[in-house]
Symmetry: C2
Subunit: 235 residues, 2 copies
């Protein structure tokens, strides 16, 4: 019997790589969807391609969507990426790296592709514990998206085939995410989490994404295998 198909949203970061490995472990035939939407196209895309290859994922679709046409975020406009935020302040206020509509847009594309593929499962690596407070990473947003998705598709209306959004990391700490990923064989040296990497793909070590990632590695007493621009990046 062939494995059921699933779509995973793959950014090339630590969380989505771990999520893809979890979907594989659940027995899915995993297909990856990656978006190029910001300013740092090349290095992020390369990380996603490497992760997909390492995990031997199925089809990998890379879609270019020009969110710079809207702007409004440090990831899609000439707004500085916040650096050196004290760790206990992360998540207290939504920072400028928030991209308006991002997860609704990404999940809606995943919904469309899953329907075409005949997949009933979508995996998204959002996390609402060690995170920057983005509204569209919270469980209540995911539940509302699910309710919308149940009414959106021909699969749901005519065939009773519900498309389910899975967020296996949503309640995990970064430490727990890394532990799961390592157990599943994820090579974190291939992943790029940073909001402001160099053109060669070295992480800055100072943005919120880097701070949370490095905290996770520090907590398990392991050096992050990713490349950093400064020694601060190292555990």
């Amino acid at each position: 019997m062939s494995r059921p198909k699933a779509v995973v949203l793959l950014s090339g970061g630590m969380d989505s790589a771990t999520t893809a490995a979890i979907a594989l472990r659940h027995g899915f035939d995993v297909h990856a969807l990656t978006f190029r939407y910001g300013q740092r196209h090349h290095v992020e895309l390369e990380a996603a391609l490497h992760v997909a290859a390492q995990l031997s994922l199925g089809r990998h679709v890379v879609l270019e969507i020009d969110l710079r046409a809207f702007g409004g975020s440090a990831l899609t406009a000439d707004i500085p990426v916040p650096k050196d935020t004290p760790i206990d302040e992360i998540g207290q206020r939504i920072p400028d790296t928030y991209v308006p509509g991002r997860n609704a847009i990404f999940l809606s594309f995943a919904l469309g592709w899953a329907e075409v593929l005949g997949a009933s499962d979508i995996f998204l690596g959002v996390n609402a514990l060690d995170y920057s407070g983005y509204p569209d990473c919270r469980p209540e947003f995911i539940q509302a998206f699910q309710a919308m998705a149940d009414l959106a598709t021909r699969a749901g209306v005519e065939q009773g085939r519900r498309l389910t959004v899975h967020t296996p990391l949503i309640a995990l700490s970064k430490r727990e995410i890394i532990e799961q990923g390592l157990a599943l064989g994820v090579d974190y040296g291939l992943t790029l989490t940073c909001y402001d990497p160099s053109t060669e793909g070295a992480a800055c070590g100072r943005c919120e994404a880097c701070i949370l990632r490095l905290k996770g590695f520090r907590e398990i007493g392991m050096e992050d295998p990713a490349r950093y621009q400064t020694v601060e990046g190292k555990a």
Copy 2:
């Protein structure tokens, strides 16, 4: 005092042109969002540009999204557009012109742009009366999208600024839509509703979109000012 901003999804068809005119009439400063996603880029985009110019809309963003990477629809893959469907069968079964995830994708982009613009209102010309039965044109889908949107944005979470999706045509017949649009000065000769137009932008007169549109013009006893490939198109 400056007018409040709104985003209208503008396809270049009859319904979205009418919706834009309604948003203007309500006093909004109307900005248009158009997607190029299928195979008939050129003529559809031209219709949207002409409508935006005729109505003197504000900014007009045209986003290219490659839904052909997914396929699965007569509008995004090499699947024939259904023709000559008996009018009483239209809407009974979801036809192959259904594009998986389309309105969730379009509305999610509108949500993101509205948040960046500082707009609190989004207008979408869906219609659930004289329509092809698409699941994502129904009131229950729109309500579920609204519930999701309420949880998705920084505007909603930090500023209590709810983004509202308006669907002023949802319960109107095609006849009523045309009557409203004519009263508001819409030039339907600029609009392109057809799913299978010629490369010069002449409508086929035989797809479901053309059949429903022509029925509306017939009911008010007016000749459709759009160009058709055949005489059948004329009232």
